[in-house]
C-alpha cells in the first residue's frame, strides 16, 4: 500500500509551517510523526495534495517547568514524554500514559501534538489531558490562541483547530509524581484501548478521563460528581458509563464497553 501522490514541503519553524498552511490552503496537511496520518494515507482514507512536514521543527520539542504548569512542545515525541524528568516530578500521569501508547517503534516517532490534533477517542493522551484540564496553544495566521481541553475535542476526529492552525504547546497543571491511575484494557499487545480510564487526584478533586467511550475522549462527569458528594469509590464507579455513548466494534459490544468502564474506574479509584 502506497499513499496517493502528494507534494512534500518541509517546514523549518513553527512560523514557516503556518505560512505553508496558509499558502496551500485546505489541500495541505501537517505531518508530525506520521503514526496516524501515514496509515490513513496508505489506505487512501486521507489523500492530501500537500504534506507540510513539521517533524524537524525542533523548537517545538521540549518539556519545561513553567512555574504553575508544565509546558510541552507539540512536537515532543511519546518517547521523550515517557522518559522526561520534569514530568516525573510534576505530572507523573503523563509519563505513565505516554509509556503505553502503541509500541517502542510508535513512541520513537509519534508526538503528543499529533495525538491531540488527530482527535481519536481511542487514543490515550487526549483523555489524560482532558482529565488534567490541560490547555492547548494554537498558532495561526492571526497569531496564537489558547483552547481549553474541555472545548477542544468536538467530534470523531474533529477538533477545535482550524485547518490553517498549528498546535504548538500543551500546558498541564502540576499534579505531582503520583496520585493517579491509568487502566488500559486491550486484548492484544501494542493495541489501542478497548476502553481506558485515567484518574488523577488533585488537591481539590478527583478527575476521571474515559478512552473509547464515545465519539470524543470524555470526562466521567457522573463519577466525579458522586465523588464530590462523598460517595464511596465503588458507588461512584457504578456511574462510569452514565452519559456515555460508546460504539460497538469487533472487540466489544456497547454493553461490554459500559461494563469495562465501570470495572476500570473502580480499579483506578482503588489505586489512587
Amino acid at each position: 500500500m502506497i499513499p496517493a501522490a502528494f507534494d512534500y514541503v518541509r517546514a523549518e519553524s513553527a512560523e514557516d509551517a503556518v505560512a505553508q498552511l496558509a499558502e496551500h490552503g485546505d489541500e495541505a496537511k501537517l505531518l508530525a510523526g506520521g503514526m496516524s496520518l501515514l496509515p490513513l494515507m496508505k489506505l487512501r482514507l486521507a489523500t492530501p495534495a500537500v504534506l507540510v512536514d513539521v517533524g524537524r521543527v525542533s523548537e517545538l520539542s521540549y518539556v519545561r517547568d513553567a512555574g504553575d504548569h508544565v509546558a510541552i512542545g507539540a512536537l515532543t515525541r511519546h518517547r521523550d514524554v515517557e522518559t522526561n524528568d520534569v514530568l516525573s516530578r510534576e505530572c507523573g500521569v503523563l509519563r505513565a500514559v505516554a509509556s503505553q501508547v502503541g509500541d517502542n517503534q510508535v513512541r520513537h516517532r509519534g508526538t503528543i501534538g499529533g495525538s491531540i490534533a488527530h482527535g481519536d477517542p481511542a487514543s490515550d493522551l487526549p483523555a489524560a489531558l482532558l482529565a488534567l484540564d490541560a490547555t492547548f496553544v494554537a498558532q495561526g495566521p492571526a497569531g496564537t490562541r489558547e483552547i481549553a481541553a474541555s472545548e477542544f475535542f468536538q467530534g470523531f476526529l474533529e477538533t477545535a483547530l482550524a485547518p490553517d492552525e498549528l498546535l504548538c504547546e500543551i500546558r498541564v497543571p502540576k499534579t505531582g509524581a503520583d496520585g493517579f491511575a491509568f487502566e488500559k484494557f486491550s486484548r492484544r499487545a501494542q493495541d489501542f484501548a478497548t476502553v481506558g480510564v485515567v484518574a488523577v487526584r488533585t488537591s481539590a478533586a478527583t478527575h476521571v478521563g474515559l478512552i473509547n467511550m464515545g465519539s470524543t475522549p470524555l470526562r466521567a462527569t457522573a463519577v466525579e460528581r458522586a465523588l464530590a458528594q462523598g460517595a464511596t469509590a465503588a458507588d461512584a464507579a457504578a456511574r462510569a458509563a452514565d452519559g456515555t455513548e460508546p460504539s460497538a466494534d469487533l472487540n466489544a459490544s456497547v454493553e461490554y464497553r459500559e461494563h469495562l468502564a465501570r470495572v476500570l474506574v473502580r480499579r483506578a479509584l482503588g489505586a489512587i
Partner: protein
C-alpha cells in the same frame, strides 16, 4: 526529490517520489532486501530498522522523512564475519523458526538494549510488543534477547 541517507555507514543518494516509503527505499533503491514487509499496516514490526539509532517501522515512514539521517538495517549489524551479539544470541538460542520476523525482531532488540541495557524478562516482552512472530517462537526470542543483554553488558564489543 533528492534524498540522502547514510545507510549502514555508506552515504546513499537517490531521487525518489515523496510518497516512497522508507522500506521500499531501502529494499529497492538501496538494494538491501534484509528488511521485510509483513503486514504493511504498522502492526507486525517485520520492517523495523534503526533511524538515528532508534527502532522505527519503515513501512510507516517516508524516505523523505529520513533525509539527512543515518539508518541501520540488519545488513549493517555484523562487524565483518563477526555477528552482532543480538544476532549471535538468536543463532545460539534458536530465536527463529521461519525467519520472516527475525530481521525486525533483531533490530527492535538492538534498539531496546540500547535504551534498557539490563532488562527483566517482562521488559523484553513489553519492549518487543511491536513485533509479531507468526511462528509464535516468542519463548526463544525472549531468551535470545536476555542472553544478548548479558553478553553485551559483560563483554562490550
Amino acid at each position: 526529490m533528492k534524498v540522502g541517507v547514510t545507510v549502514n555507514g555508506t552515504a546513499q543518494e537517490h531521487d525518489v517520489e515523496p510518497r516512497t516509503l522508507l522500506v521500499h527505499y531501502l529494499r529497492e533503491d538501496c538494494g538491501l532486501t534484509g528488511t521485510k514487509v509483513g503486514c504493511d499496516t504498522s502492526s507486525c514490526g517485520a520492517c523495523t530498522v534503526l533511524v538515528d539509532g532508534e527502532s522505527v517501522k519503515s513501512c510507516t515512514m517516508l524516505a523523505v522523512q529520513a533525509d539527512g539521517a543515518t539508518a541501520t538495517t540488519i545488513e549493517g549489524l555484523a562487524n565483518g564475519e563477526a555477528m552482532h551479539p543480538v544476532q549471535q544470541a538468536f543463532h545460539e538460542h534458536h530465536g527463529l523458526q521461519c525467519g520472516y520476523c527475525t530481521a525486525g525482531m533483531v533490530m527492535a532488540a538492538v534498539s531496546l538494549l540500547e535504551e534498557t541495557p539490563d532488562p527483566s524478562e517482562r521488559d523484553v516482552r513489553i519492549g518487543i510488543e511491536g513485533n509479531l512472530c507468526r511462528c509464535t517462537g516468542y519463548h526463544n526470542i525472549v531468551e535470545s534477547v536476555l542472553a544478548a543483554a548479558e553478553q553485551m553488558r559483560t563483554q562490550p564489543r
